[in-house]
Amino acid sequence: MRDIFFDLSVRSVRLNFLRSILASIGIVIGVVAISSMGMLGTNMQLEVKDQLSAGANTIVITPDVVRMGPPGFSPQVSSSTSSSSSVITKSQLSKIKLAAGANASAIIPVYSKNTEFTLGSVNGRGTVYGIDPDYITKFLTIENGTNIVGANDALVGSSIAENFELKLGSRIKVGSTTSGSRTEVRVVGILKERGMAADSVSTDNAIIVSEDWYTNQYGGENEYPQINVIVKNIDTITDVEEAIDTKLNANEKTPVIRIRDASSMLSNITSTLSTMTTFILAIGAISLLVAATSIFNVMMMSVNERVQEIGILLSIGTETGEIRRMFLYEAFILGIIGAVVGGLASLVIGYSVVSAMIGTTDYFFMPESIAYIPIGMLIGIVVCLISGLYPAWHASNMDPIDALRAE
């Protein structure tokens, strides 16, 4: 059964086809704006989250930088205090191992230092990481080549490899360019691009050498600037952190170590991104506001052109609710046209925008991203209905006698 009021609305839209289509275009633009902006923001969040969550199961432990003196020392910052005390000691490492226990799948001491190096005749700067080769593969991916075996073997990050055109077997002189004794390492593997790593091991612009090579070169054996604890189950990460904190910090006047993980950074960044998404969504919403005005305008025109018709309908016994329904249907039809066209356009435009601005469409069809299309469509239809409320009310509240007399 077709509702006659729906038929009347369809015919009214058809009668004023051009005008109705023009009004719907406003909704199309609004829907496209909301959907595309929403998808853009979401894709951005998803991508960043994915990049960061690589190290999300890792607890990063560093010496507390506020505290410069050795344990028991008054925590006054003194120039004579050597910086060598701001490391994690071997006993602290044992305590960490004890505290983490079976929950940790790996406890990885990470030595690191900024250094200069020379490749052929070109000088460069970067970080040297000293990591036990057994642990390297636990959190780093070797894209090309093999892991460190020999004493002078080294891995290099993707950026270094690219910038200096390094190949497997290339030799790098490590150490200050002014120093006389510089050791050479041999590239045996190139690491996969890592980006901004949550576990504070940024390898893209770094050289990774074995722990032994590092301590031989720079000393400081068993004085670790950083310990990474990889937990077996990410859900236990907070418990493990608490256990370590209790074991190492509880008996001290001030904390001796800092414990952090990627989750807080991750939530910081994602909340920043979601604020941005909301902001760009708000910009999209402005276009819907404009669309609402044009729908309102067209609906008022439709009502004003049909005053006499409304008078006829009312005088022969049409209920005011039925008149309202007729005009709300009309707004709904405009909304549906705008939403469907807008939804399809969002698919195309959203895809292009995401692909152009984020560089990947891997996340485009994920539910949280693609959901913005039905959400945008729904908002478009709702906006139309809201815009139609007053015109419909206005039509239904006319006095039939006055309306009939209108020409």
Binding site: I4, D7, R11, I312, L314, G317, T318, T320, I401, L404
Partner: protein, 226 residues
């Protein structure tokens, strides 16, 4: 037929509050119309004919006084009840036909049935009523703007009849038609009166008023002759 009048106006006044002062369109009118009567309402323009018509058609309520239709006090009804009474008990025929331009002749006639039963007509009632005013299926498919004035008025009469109302309210039904077509329309109305409808006819044409059995003449909002 009973002794109770189908329409009773008891001391009805209608006052319009205009910026230039109050205008009394109807001045203490009392009137009974029995079921089955054929009444012509005459009078010069400004005499209150239209106001009277709006009162009888319960499109409006009186300022003072009471109107009873079929024994029910119109002023005491809600808007919705008045709407339902217009739909079910009164058929309207207007000078300018007032068909719904977006609907075909058939749909125009079907429309009051949809209002009443909240569904499309499957009983063939609309087709039957259209046939009784001389419309076949092909003509019924036309939109009002494709029909002549006489044809439109036939459709309007069919629309007025489709819910089988007791009262047929005709406001200058021949006013926009040539004489010959006008008399054809009057013949239809006479036939309906013979079938038992109460017909109230507003006109300023004495020739048309002759069809009625009772003529009420209004002057300055009062009944001058009954």
């Amino acid at each position: 037929m009973t002794d109770t009048p189908l329409i009773r106006l008891a001391d009805v006044s209608k006052v319009y509050h205009l910026e230039s002062g109050d205008f009394t369109a109807l001045n203490h009118i009392s009137l009974d119309i029995m079921e089955g009567e054929f009444v012509a309402l005459m009078g010069p323009s400004g005499s209150g004919k239209s106001t009277m018509m709006n009162q009888l058609g319960i499109l409006d309520v009186p300022t003072t006084g009471k109107i009873f239709i079929d024994g029910k006090n119109v002023a005491g009804m809600t808007n919705l009840e008045r709407t339902h009474m217009r739909r079910d008990e009164i058929g309207y025929v207007f000078q300018k036909f007032y068909l719904i331009p977006l609907l075909s002749a058939y749909e125009n006639v079907e429309y009051p049935l949809i209002l009443k039963y909240k569904k499309r007509d499957t009983t063939g009632r609309a087709t039957a009523v259209l046939k009784s005013v001389g419309f076949d299926d092909e003509m019924s498919a036309h939109r009002p703007n494709q029909l002549s004035g006489g044809q439109q008025q036939r459709v309007a009469i069919a629309r007025a009849l489709v819910n089988d109302p007791k009262i047929l309210l005709c406001d200058e039904p021949t006013g926009n038609l040539d004489r010959k077509t006008g008399f054809q329309i009057m013949d239809i109305l006479c036939g309906l009166h013979r079938e038992g409808k109460t017909v109230i006819l507003v006109t300023h044409d004495p020739k048309i008023a002759e069809y009625a059995h009772r003529t009420i003449t209004l002057e300055d909002g009062r009944i001058a002759k009954s």
